[in-house]
Amino acid sequence: MRLHGVYFAVAAGSFRRYATYRIATAAGVFTNTVFGFVLSYTFLALWSERPHLGGYDQSQALTFVWTGQALLAAASLIGGGFQEELQERIRTGDVAVDLYRPVDLQAWWLAADLGRAAFQLLGRGAVPLAVGALAFDLALPASPLRWAAFLGSVLLGLLTGFGLRYLLALSTFWLLDGSGLNMLGTLLSSFFSGMLLPLTIFPGEFGEVVRVLPWAATLQVPADVLLGEYEGTALLGAYGFQAVWALVLLAAGRALQSLATRKVVVQGG
């Protein structure tokens, strides 16, 4: 019980830490809003040529844009988040201190990342979505149940995203320099999460493949839940898809962690 208190305190501390940088948050909100506007007009042009492209009508497509901007920081879709910090600790050897602590390394960083995400969902997500809703005709649901379902899906997406980035971070035990892999991670995430274009409009078999990759669980599925593409049992299916990826990735992270702590000599003197 007391151990759960520790993780809660870590998450709360991380929330407060990110909440400290108010100007940075305002700058981020401004940038997300600008990108939201630019992407909205490109989507408007695309959907006015091809209404119902990818199964969305025009206002659903715009909702997708602003949902993406709202989740961008929270889900670390184009970088950011905890992994660079952990990589730096591994590189300098400070991670040895983390391993001495009577808490689990993965759970510690997961708690910290969820605390950060909770702040960025509120601080950087809510305002761009509200601006988008004022400026454009968005298909936001009226039902509070749908919003609750969306938040559930966002949480599962955050766990999946953390699972992916934890693997990247741990690779530093072997590579020492994570910048190349981080770039690869950003590249895959920005394209395969639906950040650039909804995965539903990716053509043919390529589209079918990208829709079952783990990155789909980070933005595409939560956005579809908000848009009401999944109702009833289909919603359970969507949750199941996200949960399976989250579990597989977290388990892989755990396996890699025990391998790293057993086999790798920690840096530092």
Partner: protein, 298 residues
């Protein structure tokens, strides 16, 4: 361009540690030449240090090339569903894409380090920059010079080449010259945006992300034809933040299309003038920013 304002002549403080020649003459022109040479020295030093890890460097270039290529892949996917976007076919959009990303890529290669300035201001390492006998602008611009950013330039050159081969234009000497001048003045406009963003970070250290709206956001905007955006937005990026001069106006002229604002034809050739004005403004803002700098005192 800009000079160290604190304490008169910092050049007299100490002799340079490395074998770097002193500036020979006084005056703004000599100072500019010295700044450019110093930039070259620092950039060359960072390139040497990068090349120690050659494999890592090649991976990073390939990564940055692929990352930016995915950007264009998204546009190609769009065009797999439609024949034209805002009345522009894929080769024409590729020409817009190639010109603005090439300009941005060059500016990012030369000045991309400016977004790290806020960190220097916050932790006080800007002091080190100010006591060195080299213009602060050149030092900040060349700091951690990342040759891997060449990846974006290479990718945009490839798209530009493809666009030029496929776009339906009767090329004349004039339009080729306009294209070259456009690429250079576009790069200068983006460079001045980086410097303006840097100057802003003296005031608001944590707000580095605001400049992303104008640089990365600007590129995303300019990749698409102006016809798909709201008139007010197009007016804003023509008259307030003059991004339209980076590629929209000149490329529309090359393609023989009218601009959506119906501006007089000579405006299309205004790129170099606008770029010069932007650089002058950025220079003034940089000086003001440097004067406003307060050390952390540590």
């Amino acid at each position: 361009m800009a000079e160290v304002p604190l304490g008169g002549e910092p050049r007299a403080l100490s002799a340079p540690a490395v074998d770097v020649p002193e500036p020979a003459a006084e005056g703004p022109w000599a100072r500019l030449c010295w700044g450019v040479r110093a930039y070259g020295f620092i950039a060359a030093m960072w390139i040497r240090s990068t090349m120690v890890y050659r494999g890592s460097f090649l991976m990073m270039v390939a990564g940055s090339l692929t990352l930016t290529a995915l950007d264009f892949a998204a546009i190609v996917i769009m065009f797999s569903h439609v024949g034209a976007l805002g009345g522009f076919a894929l080769p024409e959009v590729a020409l817009l894409y190639g010109t603005c990303t090439a300009s941005f890529g060059l500016a990012d290669l030369l000045m991309g380090s400016f977004d790290k300035l806020g960190t220097r201001v916050r932790d006080g390492t800007m002091d080190t920059v100010l006591v060195r006998p080299v213009p602060a602008l050149a030092q900040v611009a060349a700091d951690r010079f990342a040759l891997r950013r060449l990846g974006r330039v290479l990718q945009s050159a490839a798209v530009l080449g493809w666009a030029l081969a496929n776009v339906d234009v009767d090329w004349s000497g004039g339009s080729v010259l306009l294209l070259v001048v456009t690429l250079l003045s576009g790069a200068a406009i983006f460079c001045s945006l980086f410097v303006l963003g840097g100057a802003f970070q003296f005031v608001a250290q944590d707000a580095a992300e605001v400049q992303n709206s104008f640089t990365y956001g600007g590129v995303t905007l300019l990749e698409y034809p102006p016809t798909i955006f709201a008139k007010e937005l197009v007016r804003g990026v023509t008259f307030v933040v003059p991004l339209a001069f980076v590629n929209w106006l000149p490329v529309l002229r090359i393609l023989g299309e009218d601009d959506p604002l119906g501006l007089p034809g000579w405006v299309d050739f205004g790129g170099p003038v606008v770029a010069a004005a932007c650089c002058a403004l950025a220079g003034l803002a940089w000086r003001a920013g440097l004067r406003a700098y307060r050390s952390t005192g540590s």
